[in-house]
């Protein structure tokens, strides 16, 4: 049982380049999330999905796009990378969104640097 997996672990981009951060979960969870963690800060929600084909914006969605074509996968797309997007990106999933017993399980993170 792998849980939530993310690829790549590290990436360096040049300004203006594009890339996709991959996220896959094998727990058959309906809800999936993308967070970013800036140095010395907590996590902030970028986008989330409540099921295949349904996505919505979080706190800091500008500069990102997502899609959810399957239950398992929730890729995050950066179209025109900017230095402000240098961060660690975490994907998470949960069975539902409600109830304290519904834990969000996190992937190991992707460290992205934009130069």
């Amino acid at each position: 049982n792998a849980g939530v997996t993310q690829t790549p672990k590290f990436r360096i981009l040049k300004i203006g380049q594009s890339m996709t951060l991959q996220c896959t979960q094998d727990m058959n969870h309906n809800y999936m999330y993308w967070y970013r963690q800036d140095p010395g800060m907590g996590l902030k929600l970028i986008y989330y999905s409540v099921g295949a084909g349904i996505t919505d914006k979080g706190e800091v969605p500008n500069g990102y796009n997502v899609s959810r074509s399957t239950t398992e996968d929730f890729p995050l797309r950066l179209e025109l990378a900017a230095p402000s997007q240098t961060s660690v990106y975490f994907c998470a999933s949960s069975r539902t969104s409600g109830g304290s017993t519904d834990t969000q399980y996190f992937g190991p993170g992707t460290r992205l640097t934009v130069l």
């Binding site: 010395g40 907590g42 929600l45 993170g109």
Partner: protein, 116 residues
């Protein structure tokens, strides 16, 4: 909007001693959930403990316990018998209990060092 504040950027404790990490939050809601997450150097976010706001009893998980003061909007984490493996960043987080609420609101984190 809800906010979570951790006023201690860094804390240190001797191995086997007890340490308390502070967290305060601001919300106008009456029903919500509070969490403490641990982030070791591996970066993995690990749930340590959770508390439902409607419960008066403080949550405990082995060596970890919380002091939940709803009126004061305070949610501190106590770690007893500290171990070297407890060294990590600790994040306090809030989530509304409203239907469809998905967002976890995190504090800035407290870096805990365990001195042998």
């Amino acid at each position: 909007a809800q906010t979570v504040t951790q006023s201690q950027p860094e804390m240190s404790v001797q191995e086997a001693e007890t340490v308390t990490l502070s967290c305060t939050y601001d919300t106008s809601e009456s029903d919500y959930y509070l969490f403490w997450y641990k982030q070791p150097p591996s970066r993995q976010m690990i749930l340590v403990i959770r508390q439902e706001a409607y419960k008066q009893q403080n949550a405990t998980e082995n060596r970890f316990s919380v002091n939940f003061q709803k009126a004061a909007k305070s949610f501190s984490l106590k770690i007893s018998d500290s171990q070297l493996g407890d060294a990590a960043m600790y994040f306090c987080a809030y989530r509304s209990a409203r239907m469809g609420a998905q967002k976890l609101v995190f504090g800035q984190g407290t870096r805990l060092t365990i001195n042998p």
